[in-house]
Symmetry: C2
Subunit: 381 residues, 2 copies
């Protein structure tokens, strides 16, 4: 297990019969999304005839509007588009290594964030998501951090850093001239994460980078935009880092994202939220009375759900048993990047799926949980 990162486990699931491993959207297109795809040839022709800058600005504006970010600096030259949010995270990691190398990072979170930061020799200090406020950061970092990196809503827990808490963190960072990085990739699922982040941050004067992502929301065959926006004044050399990777994103994808974002604002998000909420209820109802597991009854709204395993039951072993039956979930150890043992009592189930897929996964998970004696943690755990 320790040889693999979470993405490698997700890749194993890509061609599996029952894949509730990765958090990418794999539900069917809605009717209005299907209509957009039906216009692909026209969008492609249109993209070739419009200046790129106009297409990019339009896509960024539509997405930011859909997630209520009126103060996002669209058109200012301070939002860089990338092929995916990970490309943006990689660029931010490079910039942090150059100018803010000691970083307090939320714990747990998806492991490619700490892995990319560590690859760039950034030094990481875990900040528990339960203590993600100014005093928690101060305790964790001993007053010796250059930056804070927050994922909100968080993956896999769905935890949202609320408006007051973020203001507290931003003021703390601004007062100490620390950089604040926020990954908001899952905010489309949760209106509680859609207060105007840019207005809040700009008011504090903090040096910030905010990562946005259209890739977790719509079943768009990985046609997506990552974006990273910075404060007006920043020590991060993001333009250089991003232009070393790309000339531009796809003009066609800009138009596709623009259409999807407008559709989301026009009722698509409600449909998406309903699908995720219904699938969450399916998982909870299906596993609430399962042996050797319990439902985590938090008010999370993101497109993944965690199930807690009984004491002595290993998520890593359950993952292996399910995998041998063609069913892929994620064991949560590696989300807890500083203390993997803390997470081995959870599995993560993706909810961006058709209900039938969720039902099949639940039946298989129940079946495996019933053979829990085989899932007891070994003394090597």
């Amino acid at each position: 297990m320790e040889l693999h990162n979470l993405t490698e486990l997700e890749i194993l699931a890509l061609s599996a019969e029952v894949n509730v491993a990765d958090g990418h959207p794999r539900q069917r297109l809605t009717e209005s999304q299907r209509a957009i795809v039906g216009k692909f040839p026209e969008l492609f022709a249109l993209a070739a005839g419009v200046p790129f800058e106009a297409l990019e600005t339009r896509a960024q504006r539509s997405y930011m509007d859909a997630v209520q970010q009126a103060a996002a600096p669209v058109g200012s030259g301070r939002i860089f588009s990338g092929y995916a949010s990970s490309v943006c995270i990689d660029a931010v990691a490079r910039c942090l290594s150059e100018s803010a190398p000691r970083v307090g990072l939320i714990h747990p979170t998806f492991d490619n964030i700490p892995d990319l930061l560590k690859a760039w020799s950034v030094q990481l200090v875990p900040v528990d998501e339960d203590q993600m406020d100014a005093s928690g950061i101060e305790r964790a970092g001993g007053g010796d951090l250059d930056a804070v990196f927050v994922t909100t809503p968080n993956n896999p827990t769905g935890r949202v850093v609320g408006e007051a808490a973020l203001a507290d963190i931003a003021q703390y960072c601004a007062a100490r001239d620390m950089v604040l990085v926020i990954d908001t990739s899952f905010r489309g699922f949760d209106v509680r994460a859609q207060y105007d982040t840019y207005e809040l941050l700009d008011a504090t004067g903090v040096d910030y980078a905010v990562i946005e992502d259209t890739g977790k929301l719509w079943p768009a065959s990985e046609l997506k935009l990552g974006m990273v926006a910075t404060s007006e004044r920043t020590r991060l050399q993001l333009e250089r880092a991003m232009t070393d990777i790309l000339l531009s994103v796809s003009p066609f994808v800009c138009l596709f994202v623009d259409a999807l974002a407008r559709d989301a604002a026009d009722g698509g998000f409600e449909q998406l939220h309903r699908l995720v909420a219904d699938n969450r209820e399916r998982v909870r109802n299906g596993l609430r009375d399962a042996p050797n597991a319990s439902v985590v009854e938090t008010d999370t709204r993101v497109s993944v759900e965690r199930i807690k395993l009984a004491d002595g039951v290993s998520a890593a072993l359950l993952w292996e048993q399910l995998r041998s039956r063609g069913v892929h979930v994620l064991p949560c150890g590696q989300f807890h990047w500083a203390r993997p043992g803390d997470g081995d009592c959870f599995i993560r189930i993706a909810l961006g799926r058709e209900p039938e897929m969720i039902e099949r996964a639940i039946a298989e998970i129940r079946h495996s949980l019933e053979t829990a004696p085989e899932l007891a943690m070994q003394s090597t755990a």
Copy 2:
């Protein structure tokens, strides 16, 4: 000028009236390419219903077949797909920094290659493309290199490392346990770069990474695949580096690339080669008798062409003057990443354009060259 990398100069040109700056394909779709785009909705639906691995393998196989790479390790788990070749170069740079940090890099070449390598703290030693063979590498590196990085065909010169020279380099690297990295992004333009690289490399036992790219060939609105293939035995931890960045490329893009590659093999490459050759002739004929410039009469076949400026005429100043008239080329200083002064006597003109765009660019360049007194290099140059 020194504040900008080449990509930043290209971005300035993206919305310009006359953009012959970037080497991305901006010609019109051919009839058969238009037919493929016409089937986008069907391709999208198909992509959602086929296991990803099958789609990726098919796209890789079709591309490798189109550029005659029969021995490419498709389906072996040794070719990783990325959103673009730069994403692959970034991952290779990370791996080199971990396990082969002293690298002999071809000179000149597009500046994002040295920039990405330097960002990862790789130490670079220039190897002149005129001396890119075993003895040239030995002379340049003093026997103290961990790896060699070759771009072939090279950008901007179009220089191809032939089969015998590559065998010589690969044997040299294998004998010294050095890594050999080859960026072949432009090979689709030049059949002389289409001998079976993988067969050659595998026969020497060298530890290699080969970067392939569909992004320079077809006007596909930046829907493309970068790929990086490694030797069976390698010290490069590429799987880890790539999975930190992405779960998978787009299934839809896999099908699009598959169709474009099959079309290329079925006559599309001939059409493309003719367009590039005709545009090259337009540039050469249009500027052969222009004042203060001369045509570089090499047998290059890639989709860019260099023009040499007369002594005392600065490419940087010509670039500025053209830019003020809405015409964008690339001044070549920064391709010469170790000695920028060596390149300031060249401008680069992109050929992946409609003939009318080339004609307009030529007329503007001629006009500017006629005012060459203003383009005389300052003593600050």
